[in-house]
């Protein structure tokens, strides 16, 4: 088993933190081999940001994503640059307010779930910056790449002290959104 996850957006959206939390859930709480890598510009906010997590039940040789099984796009730039890389049938989550220009031809071969993620985070916790954690909730809810318990523990480990509850609220909202997809599909 080798699963590749791509997170992308711009600096400040918590792209890298989301990938670190997923990697931690897989490595520390599920006992998988997991590798998280990242690339970003020198700017701390606004530059393009990309992170990858590879999760495997055997040691990971090449540590980068070759054709992601799951992908998250938080910005138009990231979407335009990377959407072609993802595997056919990949589960893809798109921040629809920030990615207005879409490629229907590519999306035809993907399973795309689009949400106004930033707005949903704002409504749920009053903090738009919990958007990355809410997205993790959707991702884990839809893909079960790690268990909900594991991602919850990894969120607790990784967010700044005192913000655990607000982040867990965002995470659970993400689970609910994933559940409603599953309900409507069944």
């Amino acid at each position: 088993m080798r699963k590749e996850v791509l997170f992308s957006g711009f600096g400040g959206q918590g792209v890298i933190l989301a990938s670190v939390i997923l990697g931690r859930a897989a490595a520390v709480y599920e006992g998988y081999y997991a590798v998280q890598t990242q690339s970003y510009g020198p700017e701390s906010r606004g530059g393009a940001s990309r992170a990858e997590v590879v999760i495997s039940d055997e040691p990971v040789d090449y540590p980068k994503a070759l054709s992601p099984d799951y992908a998250v796009f938080f910005s138009q730039e990231a979407y335009t640059k990377y959407v072609h890389e993802v595997r056919e049938g990949a589960i893809v989550i798109v921040e629809k307010d920030l990615v207005p220009h879409r490629d229907p031809e590519v999306e035809n071969r993907l399973r795309v779930y689009e949400y106004p993620l930033t707005e949903l985070a704002e409504q749920t916790t009053g903090l738009s910056l919990t958007m990355n954690i809410l997205t993790l909730g959707i991702l884990v809810g839809l893909t079960r790449v790690v268990s909900r318990e594991s991602i919850e523990k990894a969120v607790r480990d990784s967010v700044p002290g005192g913000t655990e509850e607000v982040n867990l609220k965002a995470l659970k909202k993400g689970f609910e959104l994933a559940d409603s997809v599953a309900d409507s599909a069944s």
Binding site: A27, V28, Y33, P42, V60, D61, Y62, P63, L66
Partner: protein, 386 residues
């Protein structure tokens, strides 16, 4: 000893963080450095942890001062480390030679980024391999270890301290920006599971007087510690066994330098480590080190599926270099490919070792991206079709 991080369990951390934790578990209690991407997180971790284990972390004025400080700390009895990247490593070369000449156990970490000069600060490269081996002037010998995973970043750092202490020598841990910033699962042993080697100390008054002697015949002199009552002269000038300068005596210079070579080269079997993968029936071999060896490992799996009999020799130690091992490999295969993130460095060592018995082909790549497995596969398929 209680450590300010998880021991006896697994964690999900960056290569830089793994190096810092390993150093502390290997006994490092002094760090001097100057921040530089992609090694700054090593400094940050040491600054956080060292005061909690009765150690000292200090920011120096530059990298020249940093390596000078750890050499001094080592003579004062502390296990000491500094970490940098290419531009800082260049500044450290003079004192790296001083550490070789004064036989000072230190660990110097260089997380390689694109060069020359300030180059590509955030991106990985393997352009400093020759500098790590030959960067300082004069005939010299040291040890260079190259990790390819975050676990190896941890394990090789522990090993670097042990080799430095055992052979009274500087040891370079040569990582890269990818390993530095990559997060990966690391198993951190319990403290009692880590083998820690400590330097030989003088046992007799005679040994106290001869801090550069060879009482055990292994080329490694016992090292007196400042502040413990010894009167020791330490100099970068050519010195006799007592440590005093003797700069025009041919025999003394040759005896000193050859002993410094011998203490490492006579112990290659202990110092050199490597891994073989699918080499038993291989007709074609890949020799790689560091992060690129992981792409090469995947390339071997892909090529094997396509029926190409290829195997991988992954080098953990690039200096001292095992030329004999490469020769034996060259006797068994008809071609050796060397993928590396530079325009040809390890390639020259492999070519020298192969002695013309197998063709050696460089797969170079620069610009800040690790070779993809597909790129290595393509080059080998093209090469083998000829």
């Amino acid at each position: 000893m209680r450590y300010p991080f998880v021991t006896g369990g697994s964690d999900f951390i960056q290569g830089d963080e793994a190096i810092a934790r390993a150093a502390i578990m290997a006994g490092c209690r002094f760090y001097a450095g100057y921040p530089i991407t992609p090694a700054s997180e090593i400094f940050e971790a040491m600054a956080l942890y060292l005061p909690l284990v009765d150690g000292v972390s200090i920011q120096m004025e530059d990298e020249i001062g940093s390596i000078a400080a750890i050499i001094g700390a080592s003579w004062a009895g502390a296990k000491a480390m500094t970490a940098t990247s290419g531009p800082g490593f260049s500044l450290m070369q003079e004192n790296l030679g001083y550490a070789v000449m004064t036989e000072t156990p230190i660990v110097v970490v260089n997380m390689q980024r694109g060069g020359p000069s300030t180059g590509q600060p955030t991106l990985p490269a393997q352009g400093d391999m020759m500098q790590a081996i030959w960067g300082t002037h004069g005939d010299h010998m040291l040890i260079v270890l190259v990790p390819s995973t975050v676990q190896e970043a941890f394990d090789f750092t522990v090993r670097a301290f042990n080799l430095a202490e055992k052979y009274r020598t500087p040891v370079v841990v040569l990582g890269d920006a990818e390993i530095a910033h990559m997060r990966e699962r690391v198993n951190i042993p319990k403290p009692e599971e880590i083998k820690v080697v400590n330097r030989k100390l003088p046992r007799t008054p005679e040994e106290e007087r001869m801090p550069f002697g060879d009482p055990d015949g292994d080329g490694v002199p016992p090292m007196p510690i400042f502040g413990r009552g010894y009167r020791t002269y330490v100099t970068g000038l050519t010195h006799d066994e007592s440590g005093h300068p003797k700069t025009v005596d041919r025999e003394i210079h040759e005896r000193l330098i050859k002993r410094i070579f011998r203490k490492i080269l006579d112990n290659k079997a202990d110092i050199i480590s490597y891994h073989e993968y699918e080499l038993e029936d291989a007709e074609v071999a890949i020799v790689a080190t560091g992060i690129v060896s992981r792409s090469a490992m995947r390339a071997v799996k892909m090529l094997r599926e396509r029926g190409v009999k290829v195997g991988l020799l992954k080098l953990d130690t690039i200096w001292p270099f095992d030329f004999d091992m490469i020769k034996k490999l060259a006797e068994r295969v008809h071609r050796i490919y060397v993928p590396e993130m530079n325009l040809g460095q390890l390639y020259h060592l492999v070519k020298e070792g192969a002695e013309g018995l197998a063709e050696v082909t460089l797969i170079d790549k620069i610009g800040g991206e690790v070779h993809t497995p597909g790129e290595i596969v393509k080059r080998i398929e093209r090469g083998e079709r000829r």
